[in-house]
Amino acid sequence: MAGTILVTWQTAAAFFPSFLLPGVAEVARRLATVLGTREFAEALMVSFYRIGVGFAVAIILGTSLGLASGLSNSLRSYLRALVSVLQSIPPITWVPLLVILTGFGDAPIIIVVALASFYPLIQSVMSAAEHVDALHLKVARILGASRRQTLRTVYLPEVFPAAVTGTQIAFGNAWRALVASEMVAGVGVGLGWSITFAAEIADMAGALAHIVVIGVIAAIIDRIVLEWIKHRLLRWRYVGND
């Protein structure tokens, strides 16, 4: 996969002068210097902070509202309608409005990240809560479970895999929304901003180096960190399937 991208890139670079489209080797060299700078470390920290807060808010809201919708049919149809309308609006379109409301800074970006990751998350949790096994609910009832105990021992674990998968999908959305909004929200630091800045001073190698960083970080978090968490949290699914 990574090979395809590199070959295509290098081939395309042969047709352009290097100040327009630098080749793989040049960008790699630039990457090596960029990674060591204080600016880069700062951009990374700030971006992680923004996505961390936005994503956490989305997880908490998405999971709890999704779960609650499993217990109440009216809440579910209300949320379904609301989400399907709001979801059709690209989260980034809220940026100008949010900037006016909250001023330049982290807030518009965090809100956009939260919105972008909230939709897929609440949708997975909602449909999982809707399809909780009726027999499991009967079993809990016949064994004397209270409403709270049923929520804890049946609903939560049953919805859990969907919430984890939803989180993984939501992370992709959150990451894209983060970079995009950092490019347009008028902030002065962050991974997205670094690309805009490099492009403004016609530093193509710098812009490409940051694009590579953005792709690689997302891949590491998605394929390694989230995948690992998923296996740990859903351990029972992977036990003894031989």
Binding site: L143, G144, Q149, F160, G240
Partner: protein, 255 residues
């Protein structure tokens, strides 16, 4: 002072003119019968006749539309799992819990103390022959072992009444006969009342003290037979074949 001889005998189940309707459709009754303490009753009937509806009424999972239903002399819907619990046709095990934690589910709900829970789980594990499988997950078990776990999960509550809704319906014939033996061994001398819904005449005849035959919808009591044969029952005996034919005729299954 009341001594034991004078104590009023309360039936395990008392069903008086119970009916169940879904909208204007009568699916059951009116139905009346009693089940004394400690009896093993099998309920036979054509499929879709409302056998399972009857069981879910007895379990308190749904309310009768009319009539009165008493479990051990009390209203059916306010009773805990210590009075009666139920085993379903599908095991309904929670796939994310091990055998041990599936069995202890009801004890957890009751906030049973850890030592007691441990002892009770140990006991039923031995009864159903699942020792050594405590830490297995349901997907690692055979159908028979899953259903044993489900039965253990019910037994651990030490219910006075055990309701069973075609518990062996999805098992192969060999496993089923083995499970019958086990169930009889567990039941014998326990003083427990068992009501088992089944569509298998041989299952009813090898297990029960008494067989109730329901009509097709709306379910009425078509016959109520006491089975006096001693256990284990010889399927080739004249008594057995005679009763078997009688039951098949009642179900309309002979020509």
């Amino acid at each position: 002072m009341i001594n034991s001889a004078e104590r009023v005998v309360v039936d395990a189940l008392q069903v008086d003119g119970v009916t169940k309707m879904y909208g204007s459709l009568v699916v059951l009754g009116p139905l009346s019968f009693r089940v004394p303490d400690g009896e093993f009753v099998a309920v036979l009937g054509p499929s879709g006749c409302g056998k399972s509806t009857l069981l879910s009424l007895l379990a308190g999972l749904s309310q009768p539309s009319g009539g009165r239903l008493l479990v051990r002399g009390r209203d059916a819907d306010h009773l805990g799992p210590h009075e009666r619990t139920m085993v379903f046709q599908q095991d309904g095990l929670l796939p994310w819990r091990t055998v041990r934690r599936n069995i202890s589910l009801g004890l957890e709900y009751r906030h049973a103390d850890t030592d007691e829970a441990h002892r009770l789980v140990r006991e039923v594990l031995e009864q159903v022959g699942l020792c050594g499988f405590e830490e297995y997950y349901p997907h690692q078990l055979s159908g028979g072992m899953r259903q044993r776990t489900a039965i253990a999960r019910a037994l651990v509550m030490q219910p006075a009444i055990l309701l069973m809704d075609e518990p062996y319906g999805s098992l192969d014939a060999m496993t089923r006969m083995q499970m019958h033996e086990e169930l009889l061994r567990i039941w014998k001398g326990s003083g427990r009342t068992i009501v088992m819904v089944t569509h298998d005449v041989d299952e009813a005849l090898s297990l029960a003290d008494r067989v109730m035959v329901l009509s097709s919808r709306p379910a009425h009591l078509k016959a109520d037979l006491s089975i006096a044969m001693s256990r284990p029952r010889d399927r080739s005996s004249a008594d057995y074949t005679k009763t078997r034919t009688e039951l098949l005729t009642l179900l309309g299954l002979t020509m």
